[in-house]
């Protein structure tokens, strides 16, 4: 009997923290993020209503149908009710997932435009590296045998290849605001995951595969990139940043970086 108010109070506290948004997503920085948040809110409202109603109903039957000397009613169910709630749940759940398909399609099915900024991402235990093709627009040839992390060559750039001469290598990701970006992601050892909260996006980077990820970021700022797939003892330290710069600052950064 006491269980009924306990369930109601727990439900109210949980519902309060969701409504008050005490711990919440950071603001999104692109159109995808806004669409993501809308889909999240739709799901939250549907699930929130079901949550509150179901817990309230559970508390209510516990309270109302406690043993107070009456005889229990005798029935084996009601087929019409079963049909109604089965179809209602099916419609609701399928409706939700279908409404989210556009967001998924936007990330994975839409091809990036031809002028998207290509950036190669390399993950390894427990660091990130990013490579830009330089003014020639071409990535230089790489080979594992040339890899030398301490000398600043995590990709294994072949210094005999002229296309690689102007490649820019950075330990953090810099991107121009408002421009489509195309990441080409590789892992050197185990599985890692590229995640930026503000982008509302994450993607595993699997060794042996080349994994593309394209997006655009519109708000200038510095955002953290914590590795989000268990990669070994330094997993918790595998962090870098993504800096969204004005296109002019981005070009300037590339020039300065190339001179070094």
């Amino acid at each position: 009997m006491l269980l009924a108010p306990v369930i109601w109070i727990l439900t109210a506290i949980i519902a309060y923290f969701f409504a008050a948004k005490t711990w919440w997503f950071p603001p999104p920085i692109n159109a995808h993020g806004i669409a993501y948040d809308e889909q999240f809110m739709r799901t939250l409202i549907v699930c929130g209503i079901i949550f509150v109603l179901a817990q309230f109903a559970l508390g209510w039957v516990i309270f109302r149908f406690r043993d107070d000397g009456r005889r229990a009613s005798y029935n084996h169910g009601n087929n019409r009710l079963e049909t109604v709630w089965t179809s209602a749940t099916a419609l609701l759940f399928l409706g939700l997932v279908l409404m989210g398909t556009k967001i998924w399609a936007g990330v994975h099915f839409d091809q990036p435009p031809a002028d998207a900024v290509p950036i190669e991402v390399l993950s390894k235990q427990f660091a990130w590296s990013f490579r830009y093709p330089g003014p020639d627009g071409k990535f230089g040839h790489t080979d594992l045998k040339f890899v030398n992390d301490s000398a600043g060559n995590p990709f294994g750039l072949d210094d005999k290849d002229p296309a690689g001469k102007d490649d820019i290598v950075s330990a953090s990701l810099k991107i121009p605001a408002g421009k489509p970006i195309k990441l080409i992601m590789h892992s050197r050892d185990v599985i890692h995951n590229f995640f930026v909260r503000e982008l509302r996006m994450k993607q595993d980077i699997v060794p042996g595969m080349e994994i593309p990820l394209s997006f655009q970021a519109d708000t200038i700022g510095v955002y953290e990139v914590p590795c989000s797939e268990l990669c070994g003892l330094g997993h918790f330290q595998m962090r870098t940043t993504m800096q969204v710069m004005s296109p002019a600052d981005f070009e300037q950064w590339k020039i300065e970086k190339a001179q070094k």
Binding site: F51, H76, R188
Partner: protein
């Protein structure tokens, strides 16, 4: 359906044959139960160490250094030690608790009794499956004590981290090999058990025990056994391939062109890390239902018994169990939305995942329908069943977020996931076990448990688990990654530390109150009041025999079933329950 005809073995005399290498399904069930009880306290202890470290990453504790001279040199827990505790926590809880107690423990003890059989179909196989499980546990725990310690690749053991050997981290040497070996042995044990459960249910039902007269517990044990048979076979194969990759240099899961710890890996080519994920989750998702289905069965059974009302929509419940079992094999890809697999397949997996939410919702509606108009008795067993419904609703609804690939773009590998699966697969399933314990203890041990202690334990645990696992959803929404040994390297995590501290304290509290359960269990074993034959006025067959039951279950009598399993409060009947074996003249619908 004929009465069981297989010739029963005779009651053994010596201690060893009676209690150690016993062929009696009841003794084997109790052995599984205590193996699970031992494991759950190990698993819980590991989780407390993890929660301690998360909020005190710099703390030096003298006895850590004694326990782990290398991994906690000077008393400070290293990240690799944290990850090995995490791996072992997940593995022990999933395999040796959630798979073992509800199915092999309670199922072993009560399936034959509830369907009117004298024993399981294959008693020797039954004994073998328990002792194989025991060996698997010994091998698993031994991983702590080898050089490098226990593995750090998590209970999912994704290659190449789990496949490339010592070079990927401490614990990835001998520790990881022992881990895979233990899982392979466990798979063997589970396959033996699954065959036994299926054969018993199909062949040994007593006269009148039609399938549609079985208690819902038996339905869940049957479907769970089918899931185990199909799922563990695949995990066994995957485990063997992983061992081959590690020991003889095959490349099932390791691609070419790797460089680990500055060394070029030249002896592996052409493997696929995603292949492991497909095989693992082909087992791993049905495993979730292996853990939760028996809890659903117990909940349905107890809600009806203690509300003194027939189960609302028995047939709908049976179909829901069957469709959960079937769909359970078609949704494994929802663990892999971010894995790099073909993004088109995510669409199919997400629709199927939403579809499996439907039978789960049907069960919830029917549970509330069962309680509606009832005459509810609040014994501790019932409290845990009601708690199960609440936790199942909460944990199930967060699945509606995670089943959508679009929303998984953010939630994958955050604490939102950790909160979700602990709520539903962890604590809801454990509430099913507590409910089963309080309900069946009198039958198993012939004594009653203490109700007052039981209720205090229930309320403290119920509030405690909500305090541990609900906040995980909030830190998950704030983007907190899982499997981090501390939160000091990512700036935005600093703001979440107060929530982590709250969860850690809630975990200490919840763990501490489990002592009440242990006291209740062991005190009642020796000192509890003697249990009558049918203390709850239940209807199923195990309550027609003495507590505990005689060696051959029914004392040489072949029970005959005349009624459905949930004939409570039948109008015109002399009592408010009709036993399944009552003569047909007693009024009932079935």
């Amino acid at each position: 359906m004929s009465a069981p005809t297989h010739s029963a073995h005779h009651a053994p005399q010596g201690f060893i044959r009676k209690y150690v290498f016993s062929l009696d399904h009841k003794v084997i069930g109790i052995q599984y139960y205590f193996l699970g009880l031992f494991s759950v306290f190990i698993g819980m202890g590991l989780s407390l160490l993890m929660r301690f470290h998360m909020v005190n990453p710099e703390a030096k504790v003298a006895w850590f250094a004694k326990l782990w001279p290398t991994a906690a040199a000077g008393g400070m827990m290293t990240p690799e030690l944290y990850l090995s505790l995490m791996t072992m926590h997940g593995t022990i809880m999933v395999f040796f608790v959630l798979t073992t107690v509800p199915q092999s423990g309670f199922g072993n003890y009560f399936l034959p009794l509830q369907i009117g059989a004298e024993d399981m179909a294959f008693p020797v196989l039954n004994m073998l499956s328990f002792w194989t499980t025991f060996i698997a546990l010994v091998v698993m725990v031994s991983a702590f004590f080898v050089q490098g310690g226990a593995p750090l690749a998590g209970w999912t053991a994704y290659p190449p981290l789990s496949a490339a050997g010592r070079i990927t981290g401490p614990g990835e040497g001998m520790g990881q090999t022992l881990w895979i070996l233990s899982i392979a042995i466990f798979c063997g044990a589970s396959l033996m058990g699954a065959i036994n459960f299926i054969a018993t249910t199909v062949d040994l039902r007593c006269k009148g025990m039609r399938l549609m007269r079985m208690p819902l517990t038996c339905w869940t044990w049957l479907v769970t056994a089918i899931l185990a048979l199909l799922g563990f076979a695949v995990l066994l194969a995957a485990g063997l391939l992983l061992i081959l990759d590690r020991t003889v240099g095959t490349s099932f899961f390791i691609p070419g062109g790797l460089m680990i710890s500055d060394q070029i890996i030249s002896n592996h080519k052409g493997g696929s890390p995603l292949l492991w994920q497909h095989l693992f989750w082909f087992f791993g998702h049905p495993e979730v239902y292996i853990a939760i289905l028996p809890g659903m069965g117990v909940t349905s059974h107890l809600l009806s018994t203690f509300a003194r009302k027939p189960v609302f929509g028995y047939k709908a419940m049976v179909y829901a169990i069957l469709s959960i079992g079937f769909l359970g094999f078609l949704v494994w890809g929802h663990h892999m939305f971010m894995s790099g697999m073909n993004p088109y397949s995510a669409m199919a997996f997400s629709v199927l995942t939403m579809a499996i939410g439907v039978p789960s919702a049907i069960k919830t509606f029917n549970w509330i329908g069962t309680l509606w108009g009832g005459k509810i008795h609040f014994d501790t067993a019932m409290m845990f069943s009601l708690g199960f419904v609440s936790l199942f609703v909460t944990g199930g609804l967060s699945g509606i977020f995670l089943g959508q690939p679009a929303l998984d773009l953010y939630f994958h590998d955050t604490y939102f996931v950790v909160g979700h699966f602990h709520m539903i697969m962890g604590v809801a399933a454990i509430f099913g076990m507590f409910a089963g314990t309080f309900y069946w203890f009198p039958k198993m041990f012939g004594r009653m448990m203490n109700e007052t202690l039981g209720k205090i334990h229930f309320y403290a645990t119920f509030i405690g688990v909500y305090c541990i696992f609900t906040p995980m959803h909030f830190v998950g929404m704030a983007g907190n990654p899982r499997r981090y040994s501390d939160f000091t390297n990512v700036e935005y995590l600093a703001a979440l530390m107060p929530v982590h501290k709250f969860m850690t304290h809630a975990a200490y509290f919840t763990a501490a109150v489990q002592i009440l359960f242990l006291i209740n269990l062991f005190w009642s074993l020796w000192k509890g009041p003697k249990a009558p034959m049918n203390p709850w006025n239940s209807t199923s067959l195990e309550w027609t025999v003495s507590s505990p039951p005689p060696f051959d279950n029914f004392g040489g009598v072949h029970p005959v079933v005349n009624h459905g399993p949930y004939e409570f409060s039948v109008p015109g009947a002399p009592t408010d329950f009709i036993m399944q074996t009552d003569p047909p003249s007693v009024t009932s619908e079935d």
